[in-house]
Structures are given as structure tokens and as C-alpha cells.
Symmetry: C2
Subunit: 470 residues, 2 copies
């Protein structure tokens, strides 16, 4: 399908249908992405102020066969927000940031797609509620992008992925029609679930313009523990033990490998490290409890039980907000340390929980057949989501291994797929992983995806090049 | 679109591609449905033993343009399982009942679509886990139908609807291709979510043949309370209070009106009633707690707090399994009592929680303009899901009001829609509510549904006449 670029003439015609200053020449900030892998093609960006404006823009693109790339906070890690060529129109939702309404008694709020996640947290907190989606980029990521990529993060164990937090959507479909689906219902069985189709479609089936989101009661108290554990297998037993003892209160269960703490020491030496000699594996556990339970006592009970059965040999339970924050800083700064070290290849994978103890040593062994590496394997163990990232040995650089990058990725992804896993757990497909979709995707699913895409976006204008392999 | 009936010649040709005794002449049990509203057209039923057989059947129907109606336990309440005319092929999954695998350490199991819900409960219980989907027909409803209709039931407040309990699906799409989507992953962002598209599509986009389902830890202990409350508004305040005090432990929060208890007294007098003179409104609360919490004490704390603030004036907390069962029998037998009284019109609606106190009196007032009725309003208040059912006054029959049935339904559904609600909360559309889809459905959503249906099922063979209005 050949698309028309968003030329000056196109911008001129479209501008006449929109309020002043809706279209601008693209600024450099829209052309970069966090991985530094792609550079966007310059041209025009639309900055609409209303859903009606979005509809006008999409309709015009559909009629003229012009590609359209929706843009949220620009924090995506798979290039879904960047169009390297073809000069499509960028559509930034950054002016549509209103919290339209808050319904504390319903545990719900309605917010526009351009709202920044941290602002949604604040809006929920203002009515003593919790919006639990939480991830490193929450100060800049916007709701529309977070939903379009079905973002994950640290609280999915308890509260689910982004899609699980959505009651209703408003969206502009690829023909420019507005879908008013902003219901605030916990049950609604009236036809196909368009909501879940748009969530995770990464802007290829329409533009999310607003969402009704689920809120939750804020826990009365939270507790944080950092427990050393001998192996990934014991980490999983510890997770099961924690579930038995602490039930639904566990909001995060993060696996950390010594390699990550060593990287912190190397690149961010000011960060307080909990152990002089870190254990090979540890888990960061966060719980949020109701008024009847003291979270510190609950974590102490867990630790005692884990010690007794050899699931942990050493542990720290935060005795203050500061200590809890210190533990979290370690986990949260590992990605930054990784960035400073410079990975050769990073992998955002998910596995069935029970195969993880087998996966990790097998992946190490297979990679060792290629070369020697430092491997930082960490992530959201409670969800089976590992960030399995491969780095050069000290004294070598990522450039030294550039020729091995594809082999490394294929090695990790082949094993992940063979063990029933996913090669994109929480980051999505974007432009980075379309080849993986071809290699690992179920052919029937791919055919269905193409049929749905053609049916809803026959001209192929929505985020061309993303998600669906050519 | 004109479909070919499943004639004897069709059955003969198809039989040659299948193991012996896969096709049979339809037995009467496949031609009836619980509401007694439709009678199926006779012809042939296929009873496949494997996913491969299902694929053969669907492919043959696609090639010959023969309609195909998937059939689970036959318990659907909106006629989705019945084809009144056109003599399509019925496809019963009743021979595909295997629990393929159980993964206790992953809190997951994989089961075929024909498995009966109660058997899945047992398979989960055998490994000390809980599969929480629970509804009146669980002794005969089958997993495929429950997922195709996105069933709700009594535990959705805590555990979600059927769609929230699914990790992966295996399905045969309308062209006869098998989608192998039986992943057991908590995070998987690799393309459009076909799973959520098939769930709730009521067999119009393919046949679910197996599913990987989420299991949960079994609560250490459960507690049940029946609390009288002055009004729907105080019932909602009581729900909020319960959430504050009991957190995520609340698995059911059911509203009961005196009318339902009076119907029980009238039709099922042997059922033990908790009060000599029942209150106008009461709520049935079920909680499931971890080892650290005594559920009876927790409910006593809630009741004391509710008493103090006038949210309840009288209450019973079950002191034994038997008492808990007695409370549940009241709730569970109300639909049977309704059936014996005979409703003029029943409504399965959902509303935003905060409008319910306004909805109920307004609906009563509007119906009073049509005639005098007895109204039994009950249901899953925690989910905003009401069963708002309209009955004749004593001495009159439903036949006396037959001419008012459409007006009653329109009155209730118009008000529901105007207040942001859904005219099908948990039962689905089937053949009963396709007109409602036209009247209340969002036109953009309807157009997208039609486009998706045409793309995936161009011959229109899958469950013709269900969900999508002509």
C-alpha cells in the first residue's frame, strides 16, 4: 500500500479545517526515541485540542491516504512512536490532558489520552484512591500510549496489565468516526470487545482519545522487603509461600541478580547498597495491607518461614519510608545502570512461571557458545516477565559485539518461544519486533490480524509499519 | 447472505472426513433453551472428539456456505445456542471435556471447551486452588460457552468476569484454521488480542476449543453475612465501608429485595427464611480471608461499624457452614422462585454504581405509568449488575400483560441506557437482544463489529443471526 506523505500542501488543506495552530512543523523532540535506534522523518505534527479535532485529522488522512502516527509521551521502547520514513503526519495528544471526571464512590475516573500517568496518580490520590499502573517512565508517559501498548510495570501481579485497568474507551477509528465507549461498567456484554482490540494495537487500529479507568482503595499501609534467595527456583517457592501467607496483598515481586547491583556500584556509586557483598539473587517484595494487618509483621512472618525452609538465607525488612525507598531505588535504577554500561541486546520476555528455573541456566549456556558476556537477568518475577539483558565483559564494548547482536537475540528469543514464552512481554512490537512476529507468531493469528487491520483501516494509514510485518 | 442448510447430503459428505459417529441427527435436547422462547430447527449435530475434527467441520461449512451453531451446555439465557430456522449444523463440544494439564505452581490449568464448570472447580480444588467463576448453571454450563458469552456470576467483584480469568485460547476460526493461543503467560504484548475478541463474541467469530485458565489460592476461611440495609443508597455506602475495612477479601456483595424473599415464601416455602418479617432491602456478603484474619470477626467489625452509622439496622453473621449455606440458598433460589411466579419481562442490566440509587425509584415510577406490577430487583450490586424483573400483581398472570411486554422492556432499557448503563450485563446478546444492539449500540462500534465479522467470516457461517442485527 503506498501512502501519500504529509506535504506542506496537505498541511495547508487540513489546517483550514482545524483551530489555529493545530498543525506545526515537527520539532526534533518528536523524532527521537529512548533506544536511539530510529530517527523520525521530518514533516508535520498535529496537536489537537479535542476529540472532534482528532476525528477531523484522521478523516482527512483516510481520504487522502496519508499515514498517521499517534504520539503519546514518546517513552515506548520498541519504536512504535517513530516513523523513519514516508513522512506521515504525527498526531500528538499532549494538549488533551484533562481529567474529565472522577467518581470516587465508583472507583473510577475518566481522563483524556494525553494525561501523564503521574498526574492520573495524583488525581486518584486526591480522592484517596489508587491508580495502580506504575512504571519507570510515569513522569512522562501518557495514558493513550500506555493503553495502546498495554503497558505492564511493577504492580501487575496484583492489579493486572494496563488493559485490566480500563472500563471504557473513547477512540477515533481509522475512518475518522468517533467511538463513544466511555462506559463505567464492571459488566457489559453487548457485542465484540473493541476496547481490548484497541488496547495493545499500538495505534494501528485507531487513536484512543480518552479512557475510563479503574481506581482502587489505597492500602492502609505498605511494607517492603529485600530477601536474598539461593536461586530462581527458590525465588518461585518464595513467591508461592508469600501468596499462601500474604494472599492478595502482594503488589510487587521483583527478581534482582547480583549483576544489576554490581552495575549500580560501577555506574551510580552514590546509591546506597543494602549488602556489602550482594547475594547472587534477591527479591524485592512490596505488600499493601488493610487496617487489620501490620505489613512489617506480615513480612517478618514470611521471612521467618522462608529462613526455616531455606528459601532465603538473608533478608532486610524496611523499617522506615526511607529504607523502603532505598530498596526501590536499587530496583528502579538498574535500567539506568544498564543504559550506562550499554547492553548488546536487551530482551523483554515472559515465560510460564514453572519453566523459569530451567530457562535461565539454559539461556546462559547457549549464549556462552557465542561468546563471553555479562548477563543481567531481572524483572517482574511474579508475572513471569524477565528483562534478560546481555552486556560485554569488562574492557570490551557493545561495538565489539555488534556482529553478534542478531545471534544473541535469536538465541534468547528462540529458547523463550520453545519454552512457551513471549518475546514481547510488556513493551509491545512497535517497529523493533515485527520480524519476531513473523518468526514466532501463530500463522492463524497473523492472518486474523491482517484481516482485522484491512477491515478497519483499508488504506493502511494508522501507524504504518508498526506491529504488522509487511 | 444466504446460507445452505445442513442437508442429509451435506452430512453424508462431511461424515466421510470424520471419525465414525461424529455426526448425528439432532436430538430434541439441542432444540430447547431455558427461557422456552425459541425452538431450534431440526437437522444435524456434530459431536467432534478433537480440535482437528472441529477444524474439519468448520472448513467444510465455510466451503459449502453452511451455517454452524456452536453448542456448549445449552444454559444461555439469550438464545445464542438456538437456530430457529435455516437448519444450520449444530456443533456440540460435549465430547471434548479433558483437563489437559494442571499447573498448580503457576496457578493455571488448560481445559477443553466442553468441560463442565463444576468439573473445572473440582480439578482446581484437587490441587488446592480455586477457579472462581461461579454461577447458578455451573453443573451443566461448559467452559466454551461460558467464555464465548463472557459469563459473570457471583464472584466477579473480586475475580472479574470470565474474560479476566483466561490466559490463553485455542480456537478454530471461521475458515477452519486452528489458532494455537494456549499460552500461560501473565504478560504477552505480541499483536492484537484475539483472545478478548473471541471471548464474548458468542460463537460468531470462531469456535473456542480449549482455554488456559487462571487459578487462585483458596481462601483459608470464608465468612457470610446477611445485613439489612435501609435503601440501595445505604447498600452502596455499606459496600464502600466493607471495602475500606475488608479490602480485597470481598468475593460477593449481592442485593436482595423483600419481593424476592416473598416469592420464595410463596413458591418454595420449605426454604428457611432468616427473618420472620424480611426487611425491604438486604445484602448478602461473602468474604474469603488469609490465615491471619478470622472472617467472622471481620464481618462483626463491619456490622458494628454499619450499625453505628445507620447503614444497617439488623444483621446475621453465619456461625456455621450450614448457616452460610442457608443464606446462599436464599440468594440462589430467587431465580427459581421468579420462574415459578413467571415474569412478564426480565432485565439483565448494569449501571455505574453511583446512579443505582436514582435508577431504582425512577424505573419503578416509569413502570407505574404503564400498569401495576410486582418488581423483584436483585443481583450483583458490587458489579452494578441488577436483575430487574417485572411480575404481575397477585391474581393476574403474565398472559394478562403480554401486550405490555415490549413497552416494559423499552421503558427499563431506555432508562438504563440514558443513565450510562448496559442492557446486557452478563447474559450477552444472543438472538434476544439484537434489536437492542441497534437501538442502543454505538453506531461506530456497530460498524466496526460488522467489518470485523465480514473480515473473519466472509460467508457469515458462524452462529448466523446471533449478536449482529441484520
Amino acid at each position: 500500500m503506498t501512502l501519500t506523505p504529509a506535504t506542506d500542501a496537505f498541511a495547508d488543506t487540513l489546517s483550514q479545517q482545524l483551530p489555529a495552530d493545530t498543525l506545526r512543523r515537527v520539532e526534533p523532540r518528536f523524532l527521537e526515541e529512548p533506544r536511539g535506534r530510529w530517527q523520525g522523518s521530518s514533516g508535520w505534527v498535529a496537536l489537537p485540542r479535542s476529540t472532534q479535532d482528532v476525528a477531523t485529522i484522521v478523516r482527512h488522512c483516510a481520504q487522502s491516504g496519508t499515514g498517521l502516527v499517534p504520539y503519546g509521551g514518546g517513552t515506548g521502547l520498541v519504536g512504535g512512536q517513530i516513523a523513519p520514513d514516508g513522512a506521515p503526519l504525527l498526531l500528538s495528544l499532549e494538549r488533551m490532558t484533562a481529567v474529565r471526571a472522577v467518581f470516587p464512590e465508583e472507583n473510577a475516573l475518566t481522563v483524556e489520552a494525553g494525561a501523564i500517568l503521574a498526574d492520573v496518580h495524583d488525581a486518584a490520590e486526591a480522592v484517596n484512591r489508587l491508580f495502580p499502573l506504575s512504571l519507570a517512565s510515569q513522569g512522562s508517559a501518557r495514558i493513550g500510549g500506555l493503553l495502546s501498548t498495554n503497558a505492564g510495570g511493577i504492580n501487575t501481579l496484583r492489579y493486572g496489565n494496563a488493559r485490566d485497568l480500563v472500563l471504557g474507551l473513547e477512540a477515533v477509528l481509522p475512518d475518522g468516526e468517533i467511538w463513544n465507549g466511555l462506559k463505567r461498567l464492571r459488566k457489559d456484554n453487548t457485542g465484540y470487545d473493541l476496547r481490548h482490540l484497541l488496547i495493545g494495537a499500538e495505534g494501528t487500529l485507531g487513536v484512543i482519545t480518552a479512557a475510563s479507568l479503574k481506581l482502587f482503595p489505597r492500602p492502609s499501609a505498605t511494607g517492603t522487603a529485600l530477601l536474598a534467595t539461593p536461586s530462581p527456583a527458590t525465588a518461585l517457592s518464595l513467591l508461592a509461600r508469600a501468596r499462601d501467607l500474604l494472599g492478595d496483598t502482594i503488589s510487587a515481586f521483583e527478581l534482582i541478580h547480583r549483576q544489576g547491583i554490581d552495575f549500580l556500584a560501577e555506574t551510580l556509586p552514590d546509591i546506597r547498597r543494602p549488602w556489602p557483598a550482594p547475594p547472587e539473587w534477591c527479591v524485592l517484595i512490596e505488600i499493601g495491607t488493610g487496617p487489620a494487618t501490620d505489613p512489617t509483621e506480615a513480612l517478618e512472618t514470611l521471612f521467618a518461614s522462608a529462613l526455616e525452609d531455606g528459601l532465603s538465607e538473608d533478608g532486610l525488612i524496611a523499617q522506615s519510608k526511607q529504607q523502603s525507598q532505598d530498596f526501590w531505588t536499587i530496583r528502579e535504577q538498574i535500567p539506568e545502570a544498564n543504559r550506562r554500561i550499554g547492553s548488546i541486546s536487551s530482551h523483554d520476555i515472559a515465560l510460564p512461571l514453572s519453566v523459569i528455573p530451567e530457562f535461565i541456566p539454559e539461556a546462559h549456556a547457549r549464549l556462552a557458545e557465542i561468546d563471553s558476556y555479562r548477563i543481567n537477568c531481572f524483572g517482574h518475577l511474579g508475572d513471569g516477565n524477565l528483562h534478560f539483558n546481555v552486556f560485554p565483559m569488562p574492557g570490551r564494548t557493545r561495538a565489539d559485539h555488534a556482529h553478534q547482536r542478531d545471534a544473541i537475540k535469536t538465541c534468547v528469543h528462540d529458547l523463550t518461544h520453545a519454552m512457551g514464552g513471549s518475546v514481547s512481554a510488556e513493551h509491545g512490537i512497535g517497529r523493533l519486533k515485527t520480524d519476531d512476529m513473523l518468526r514466532y507468531g501463530d500463522p492463524t493469528k497473523l492472518a486474523a490480524m491482517r484481516a482485522i487491520k484491512s477491515a478497519l483501516d483499508p488504506a493502511g494509514i494508522m501507524n504504518p509499519g508498526a506491529v504488522l510485518p509487511d
